[in-house]
Amino acid sequence: MSASVRGRAWFERLTAGAKPIAGLPASVLAADASIDGHAVRAVAVVPDPNGRFPRARNGEMGIDEGFGLATAVNGTPAGSAILAIVDVPGQSFGTREEAVGLQRALAASTNAYIRARRSGHPVLALVVGKAISGAFLCHGLQAGWIGALDDAGIEVHVMSEAAVARVTRMERDDLARVAREVPATARDIRTFATLGGIDRLFPVSNPSAPSDADVAAVVHALTEVLRNPRLGLRDPIERLDAPAALHARALARRVRDELRAQWDA
């Protein structure tokens, strides 16, 4: 399967030639850009065919990527927002990674985003490709505002499609039926948006090589969000109050309410 070019393409267009930050692994791109006069540190994880970990050369979130993202995010200048550009097929699957402690590398990045947001940096995310599992947890899901391309190439899930088929031993048609009955198992971005996880969808003409109009639409939306910093500062749990969540996440909302009611009986 060929490595995705979307992350790099959108990173380059949105940072419009801003100088990439040095000292990061080649698979982690970061640059301080300006969007409508607002300072934004854009960050992306991209394939590095020469990566030193053999199982992390196709854009996967591995040891170097997790810790590299943390370095990039932790170094965000005062007053700057952060934009996570998300196109990650998942975690890297390797013995070296498990021995070194891949969970810590992803925790480092997650921690960086959370601390940045909690200390006043608006955190935005733009999903332009795959957003899978731990990779999405540590790069994107801690944003206060998440936009995504309205495109069939976007996938959100906890496992690759091939892995799901293997684990469940189900045929494509059966998986499609389950996805219709249980939206939580659907991988497409529109269904994920119905769960209250996405703030804005962008139809685009070319997701891998965005046109000027594609970029302008995204920049316009980011500008609005940056002008209202409260949006990028929202905690993940506030998504439970999104309009879509009232229905789609009614059970999670009920659990939260019941815990509150029963906490000090």
Partner: protein
């Protein structure tokens, strides 16, 4: 001299583990099985739901101080976290943070025994896990957040990422702490990368002893209720320093797999 027999913690159910960690007689379960807040998504996928969704939330005291234990049951769907289980953990973190802000802190213990996010509830569960991560970091600003990984499954996936954010991490020798389970690594990268049937190797690569040696845990415990109770209380009374989330030195990953492991003092 009396012979004290060690009582296994790992053999207990999630409910009984919570009971063991809280002071005697103080256990009170929230959203108990009889409230029947169970997953509505499983029957359509050929799975019978459990009345507590495999996650138990209990209030009580630890060392006489207000406390809450959230325990997952590794025997129900591998302890995997669905929408309800995830919401239980996230909600408990949120309330513990509120209590700490109000000056009436509630000690929170995450006794996680889980293979990760439940496949059958994928995207609803992943949203709750993002809340859990945030909740841990927020609570940690005010007081210790204790992860106890002492079950049969250990901790994997998004929940492993979450526990790595905790400020006190207690692991047992028998538990494993990794991101991707051995069967997943084998399936994705081949049996030469990882042989999931080689159980001793798996423990050498991801077991509690290794994690403590690496400095990824604040305490290593045996599978003994009394030892674990004491360790949990100590984690609140005398919290230990857990190193920052930066890479610890490791060998050149370009080394062949076996050479890499040997260089990490792990027998391949």
């Amino acid at each position: 001299m009396s012979l004290l027999l060690a009582e296994s913690f790992a053999e207990r159910s999630a409910r009984d583990r919570a009971r063991a960690l809280l002071d005697a007689q103080s256990f009170r379960e929230l959203l108990d099985p009889f409230q029947r807040i169970a997953s509505p998504y499983l029957e359509a996928q050929g799975v019978v739901p459990q009345s507590d969704d495999g996650t138990v939330v209990a209030r009580g005291t630890i060392g006489g101080v207000r406390a809450c234990v959230v325990a997952t049951d590794g025997r129900f769907l591998g302890g995997s976290i669905g929408e309800i289980g995830g919401a239980k953990i996230a909600g408990a973190l949120e309330l513990a943070r509120r209590d700490a802000e109000r000056g009436t802190p509630t000690r929170l213990v995450l006794a996680l025994d889980t293979g990760g996010i439940r496949l059958q509830e994928a995207n609803l569960a992943i949203l709750t896990v993002s809340e859990i991560c945030d909740g841990i970091v927020a609570l940690r600003e005010l007081m210790p957040v204790v992860a106890l990984i002492a079950g049969r499954v250990g901790v994997y996936g998004g929940l492993s990422l979450s526990t790595a954010l905790c400020s006190q991490i207690i692991v047992s020798e028998g538990a494993r702490v990794g991101l991707n389970g051995p069967d997943v690594v084998e399936t994705e990268s081949g049996i030469d990368e990882m042989d999931s049937s080689d159980r001793p190797l798996i423990w050498r690569v991801t077991g509690g002893q290794l994690r403590f040696r690496q400095g990824f845990a604040t305490e290593l415990v045996s599978d003994d209720v009394a030892v674990i109770r004491a360790a949990v209380e100590r984690a609140f009374e005398e919290p230990r320093e857990l190193g920052p989330l930066v890479p610890q030195p490791f060998p050149d990953p370009r080394l062949e797999r076996d050479a890499f492991l040997r260089a990490m003092e792990i027998e391949p």
